[in-house]
């Protein structure tokens, strides 16, 4: 579904406008805290989507780069003082670029494999980095964890700077996605996802575009990791490099809709808020894990393509039915669903989903 001209930017303006104004409303701390985490996951899902959604390379190891970003900021400020509290944010671009560069050789090796093997290779990467974080005690503090000085922000508006920075980061992530979708890069990624060998055969620069997607994706993820570490103040290997974070990112993208601009954001807002709420109400009990897994399974089985593509499909079918129905029923009334006049369009392999 292609939105009429002007709707897209207007939607984005409203979305970011509302999010920018929200903290002014004197929200409770727990609510703002929840929003901070939601934004973190929105950025990471959007970043994951570049690789897992558009290029069709389902990485399960993104949290490794999240952890690298987290440790990078903590280690840097063990040797440098924090004065006004904004220094860690200024370090973010450096961390993003640095991790993207580190990711380049990793991608070059991992992307020799496809689809499911790629997922496996990236998950082993996750455990490699986690083992390193545990074992390089001199550097990371091992299982004892590592800490960063608390930000000297006034406690009344403590979350604000984190919130604002994350909002900017989300705008960047979505802007990059948008730019990719409108450019040759997006088309090349779609070609890679559909059939990589054929794409290479007709001259798509498969390798370059894959590596680009990977590096941008992990760079953004690392920046979120750095913000998370600064926000938490104290990090442990098992939380900085937690397989559940990877799973959440993937699930959010799948829930919202892969290879769409808004899908990962929608998924993040629904799931992270639900998750925070569940964790809040069920506490640390293990029923939480069961509930989470069940939500996961139900989403996968009922909406394998995600919320956004499902809605779009439904709207498209409805619109076409109305057009066909128009002469017979002037009121534009809906036909019953069991007598469709138009043959049900099967989804093309390369889905064009722009919203």
């Amino acid at each position: 579904m292609r939105a009429p001209r002007g709707i897209g930017p207007a939607r984005a303006a409203v979305f970011f406008g509302v999010l920018a104004v929200l903290p002014e409303l004197d929200l409770a701390h727990w609510l703002l805290n929840m929003l901070v985490f939601t934004l973190m996951f929105a950025v990471m899902s959007s970043a994951w989507n570049l690789l897992g959604g558009f290029a069709g390379y389902p990485s399960l190891g993104h949290v490794a780069f999240f952890g690298i970003g987290a440790y990078a900021v903590v280690l840097w400020f063990q040797h440098h003082a924090i004065h006004n509290g904004y220094e860690p944010f200024l370090l973010l671009p450096l961390i993003g670029v640095g991790v993207a560069v580190v990711g380049l050789p990793v991608a070059a090796i991992a992307m020799r494999t496809r689809a499911d093997v790629f997922a496996i290779v990236t998950i082993t990467l996750l455990f490699v980095v986690q083992t390193l974080a545990f074992n390089l005690r001199g550097l990371t503090g091992g299982a004892q964890g590592a800490s960063i000085a608390a930000a000297p922000f006034p406690s009344a508006t403590y979350e604000r700077p984190f919130y604002d920075v994350l909002l900017v980061l989300l705008a960047i992530a979505m802007g990059l996605t948008w730019a990719a979708m409108r450019s040759k890069v997006g088309l090349s990624l779609a070609a890679v996802r559909a059939d990589e060998d054929k794409a290479a055969g007709i001259g798509v620069r498969v390798q370059a575009v894959k590596l680009l997607a990977f590096c941008v994706s992990v760079g953004l993820t690392a920046m979120v990791g750095a913000i998370w570490a600064y926000y938490q103040g104290f990090i442990y290997p098992q939380f900085a490099i937690d397989p559940l974070i990877t799973v959440s990112i993937v699930l959010m993208t799948f829930l919202g809709g892969r290879a769409t601009l808004w899908g990962p954001v929608i998924g993040a807002f629904i799931l992270e808020m639900a998750q925070q709420y569940l964790a809040y109400s069920l506490g640390g009990s293990q029923f939480y894990l069961i509930g989470y897994a069940l939500v996961f399974l139900v989403v996968m089985l009922l909406m394998p393509r995600g919320i956004l593509p499902s809605i779009q499909e439904w709207l498209r079918r409805r619109r076409r039915r109305q057009v066909v129905d128009a002469p017979a029923t002037p009121s534009g009334g809906l036909r019953t669903a069991d007598t469709p006049l138009t043959p049900r369009r099967t989804a093309p392999h390369v889905k064009e989903t722009r919203t």
Partner: protein, 292 residues
């Protein structure tokens, strides 16, 4: 030198159990092209089952294997029917990774509710018995586990190569479409195949529970090992799974005995990355495509 040989002995003995777990994993991939992320969780579930049978009824974990395999076979069939069969075929391979991961989380959640998250271990009377041969220590439990794993692998081999069901499985692995045309009921083969994979997990789990303490979160560690093994050997090849298990188990045991146990986990990831650098399909991935 002594530490090196001791490491190799330990590695080879441990490899049997891992080969058994990995063979189930690779069998499931061979039949359905599904990467079963829940295999580790199923192994731990098998370990808990035999723990429960041992503490409640005093059944020896080795003797409990027939019971746990039957239970887990049914669990496996149920997972296939409820969660995997409804997936659409066009993006099955991607979705199945996520769905089986969710199954792993579900199993983990259930296990931590039933047995809590603290470490459990099965303390049999013979747990610490060992022989000393030429100055090298051989733990009796490990030796038995190794021999039993070999037996189970042999049974699996016979099942796949000497029975009608095995022929149907091999046909599905080689060419699913033709197999279906020739009357192989692919859904049934898939269900039984997943059940078999879970049954190997149960058998391996009973032995794993004897060898190591475990808790509901142990499956993360296990699944990363198992995935390294099957990818190293080449997905879908049982011979590859056995070879991969040997390489990974021996190399990590050698590193543990000669350098430091905390680096042993790192070893097999490094081995894996090195192999993938040279052969992205794994050791046996392309050469025996379709063979199992």
């Amino acid at each position: 030198m002594h530490a090196l040989i001791q490491g190799i002995i330990l590695g080879v003995l441990t490899a049997g159990v891992y080969a058994l777990m990995a063979s189930g994993q690779t069998l499931i991939f061979g039949i359905m092209k599904i990467v079963n992320m829940a295999q580790g969780a199923l192994v731990i579930l098998g370990a808990y089952l035999s723990y429960q049978l041992f503490t409640s009824f005093g059944i020896d974990p080795f003797l409990a294997i027939p019971i746990t395999t039957v239970i887990m076979f049914m669990v496996g069939v149920a997972v296939q029917l409820v969660f995997l069969r409804p997936l659409h075929s066009d993006d099955r391979s991607q979705l199945s990774v996520l769905v089986t991961f969710a199954v792993a989380l579900l199993v983990e959640g259930v296990m931590s509710v039933i047995w809590s998250t603290s470490d459990r271990s099965i303390n049999t009377s013979y747990a610490n018995a060992s022989w000393t041969v030429l100055g090298y220590q051989i733990t009796l439990v490990r030796l038995w586990a190794f021999l039993l794993s070999l037996l189970a692998l042999a049974l699996l081999y016979l099942l796949l190569n000497r029975t009608r069901f095995g022929r149907a499985v091999r046909a599905s692995v080689q060419n699913p479409e033709s197999a279906r045309l020739l009357g192989v009921e692919s859904e049934r083969v898939a269900a039984i195949g997943f059940g078999l994979g879970a049954a190997t997990a149960a058998a391996a789990g009973s032995m794993y529970g004897l060898l190591y303490p475990f808790n509901s979160g142990s499956h993360y560690d296990l699944i990363s090992r198992l995935l390294s093994i099957v990818v190293l050997g080449g997905l879908g090849s049982i011979g590859g799974a056995v070879t991969g298990a040997l390489i990974i188990s021996v190399s990590s045991a050698v590193v543990a005995s000669t350098i430091s146990p905390s680096w042993s986990q790192m070893t097999f990831f490094v081995v894996l990355l090195l192999v993938l650098l040279v052969r992205p399909r794994g050791l046996f991935g392309a050469a025996v495509r379709g063979a199992i």
